[in-house]
C-alpha cells in the first residue's frame, strides 16, 4: 500500500491502492484531512476543507 506524509504532523498516511484523484484521506495520528492528488501512479496531498466537530461547551 502506498503512503504519503502528513503535512500537519509528518505521520505516514496509508493510501489504499484503489484510491482516486480528489478522494479525502485522514491522517491516523492527527486527524487532519487531505485531498489526494494523483500524478501517474504517484500520490500527493493538499489540504481539504473539512468541518471539524466541536463540543461547543
Amino acid at each position: 500500500m502506498a503512503k504519503v506524509n502528513c503535512k500537519e504532523c509528518d505521520a505516514e498516511i496509508p493510501v489504499p491502492d484503489d484510491s482516486m484523484q480528489g478522494e479525502i484521506v485522514t491522517c491516523p495520528d492527527c486527524g487532519e484531512s487531505f485531498e489526494l492528488v494523483k500524478s501517474g501512479n504517484e500520490f500527493s496531498i493538499k489540504p481539504a476543507q473539512v468541518v471539524g466537530e466541536d463540543w461547543g461547551q
Binding site: K7, E8, C9, D10, A11, T26, D29, C30, G31, E32, S33, V50, V51, G52, E53, D54, W55
Partner: protein, 350 residues
C-alpha cells in the same frame, strides 16, 4: 518469579494484587497487612474473589526474603523507609510505592515532606521508577522508587520540551486534576462520599510534595534549575488524572516541529500515546480513555498570542500513577517484555 506485597489492604495494594494475579510470569507468594492479619485477601478486595486464596500474613522479614524473589512495599509515606532499608540489607529486590526514596537529595525530604530521612546513604542506591526516564538504570537496580501519580503524568508531558530546551524554565504552571482514589483508602471527612461527591477542590495549591520529584527529574534533563508551579484539584472522578502543563516558549515553534519532538521522544514507547486530533471530537488527552490501562496519553496545543504551549497528559492514578508503573518496573528489572501482564485496553466508558 515469586513476589511478596507488603501493605496490600489499601487501594494501591489492591490494584497491585489485581495486576499480579493475572501476570503470566509471577506468582504472589506472600501478602502482608498489619491491620488485616489472618483475613482472606478476597474479603478485603472482593473483586479478587476466585483469583487468590491467600490470607494476609504479618510482617516477617525472614519468611519474606525466603519465599520471595522480589518485594513490593506499599505502605504509607514515612513508614516505608525502615522496611525498605531492612529488606535492602538482605539483598532482595524491592519496588517501593511510597515517596520515601524518590528524592536524591536528603535536604529535599525536609523541604517537601517535613521529615529528616533516616537512611540518607540509601538515596543514591534507589532509582526513580519511570522507565521512560531511567530504563537502563532500572534494569540493574535493587531498589526502585515508583513515582508520585501526578508527578509522572506531568513529567511525561514536559520531558520532550525540557530536554529540547524550548521553554522558559521559570514559568511552568502544572494545574492537575485527580480522582478520589488518589487520596488513598483511609476514611476521613475529606473522603466521605457526601462531601467528596461533585467537588472541584483545590488542595495544597502551593508546595505540593510531587513538585519536588518533578523539579528533580526535569533538572536532570536540562542542567538549568527548573521551577514548577503546581496546584492539584480533587475532582468528581474515582480514577484518573489530567495534568494541564502551561509553559512559555523561548522561541517560535511550529506544530509540525512539536509533533516531531514528541514522536522522536515517544515513538517507541508502548505506554505513551500522542493524542492531538484536528477534526474529531476527541482532540486532546482525557483520563476517560485510559482508565484501568497503563497508558499515559500526551498531547499539546499552541497559544500563539501568549507564546504559550499547553502540554496535556492523562493517566489512571492507580495504574501508570502507581501499581501499573510498579509492574512495568518489575518487567524491566526481570527482563520481561514491558507489556507483560499490562496489555490492557482501557475500559471506556466507565
Amino acid at each position: 518469579m515469586k513476589v511478596g506485597v507488603i501493605g496490600a489492604s489499601g487501594f494501591v495494594g489492591g490494584e497491585l494484587l489485581r495486576l499480579l494475579v493475572t501476570h503470566p510470569k509471577v506468582e504472589v507468594s506472600m501478602v502482608t497487612s498489619r491491620q488485616k492479619v489472618g483475613e482472606y485477601v478476597h474479603r478485603i478486595h472482593p473483586s479478587l474473589k476466585s483469583f487468590i486464596n491467600l490470607t494476609f500474613s504479618d510482617f516477617d522479614i525472614d519468611k519474606l526474603t525466603d519465599k520471595c524473589d522480589l518485594i513490593f512495599v506499599s505502605v504509607p509515606h514515612g513508614k516505608s523507609n525502615k522496611i525498605v532499608n531492612d529488606l535492602f540489607k538482605r539483598g532482595i529486590k524491592i519496588i517501593d510505592l511510597s515517596a520515601d526514596f524518590r528524592l536524591k537529595n536528603p535536604d529535599d525530604y525536609v523541604k517537601w515532606y517535613g521529615w529528616e530521612h533516616p537512611y540518607p546513604d540509601m538515596l543514591a542506591k534507589s532509582v526513580y521508577g519511570v522507565p521512560e526516564f531511567h530504563r537502563e538504570e532500572i534494569k540493574n537496580a535493587q531498589l526502585v522508587a515508583c513515582p508520585g501519580c501526578m508527578a509522572v503524568t506531568s513529567l511525561l508531558a514536559l520531558k520532550p520540551l525540557i530536554q529540547n530546551d524550548v521553554l522558559d524554565t521559570e514559568h511552568i504552571v502544572v494545574d492537575s486534576k485527580i480522582g478520589s482514589s488518589g487520596a488513598g483508602g483511609q476514611a476521613g471527612s475529606a473522603t466521605h462520599h457526601a462531601m467528596r461527591y461533585g467537588v472541584i477542590r483545590p488542595y495544597k495549591p502551593a508546595k505540593h510534595r510531587h513538585t519536588g520529584e518533578i523539579e528533580q527529574e526535569l533538572n536532570l534533563l536540562n542542567n538549568k534549575k527548573i521551577h514548577v508551579s503546581m496546584t492539584p484539584h480533587a475532582v468528581n472522578m474515582v480514577r484518573g488524572i489530567l495534568t494541564t502543563n502551561h509553559a512559555f516558549l523561548k522561541k517560535e515553534i511550529s506544530e509540525l516541529e512539536l509533533w516531531k519532538l514528541y514522536r522522536n521522544m515517544y515513538g517507541k514507547e508502548v505506554f505513551i500515546r500522542l493524542i492531538r486530533d484536528k477534526n474529531g471530537i476527541y482532540k486532546f488527552p482525557d483520563p476517560k480513555f485510559v482508565i484501568a490501562s497503563n497508558f499515559c496519553d500526551v498531547g499539546f496545543d499552541i497559544d500563539e498570542d501568549n507564546k504559550r504551549i499547553v502540554a496535556m497528559s492523562a493517566s489512571d492514578n492507580l495504574m501508570k500513577g502507581a501499581a501499573g508503573s510498579a509492574i512495568q518496573n518489575l518487567n524491566v528489572m526481570a527482563g520481561f517484555d514491558e507489556m507483560t501482564g499490562l496489555r490492557f485496553t482501557p475500559v471506556t466508558p466507565v
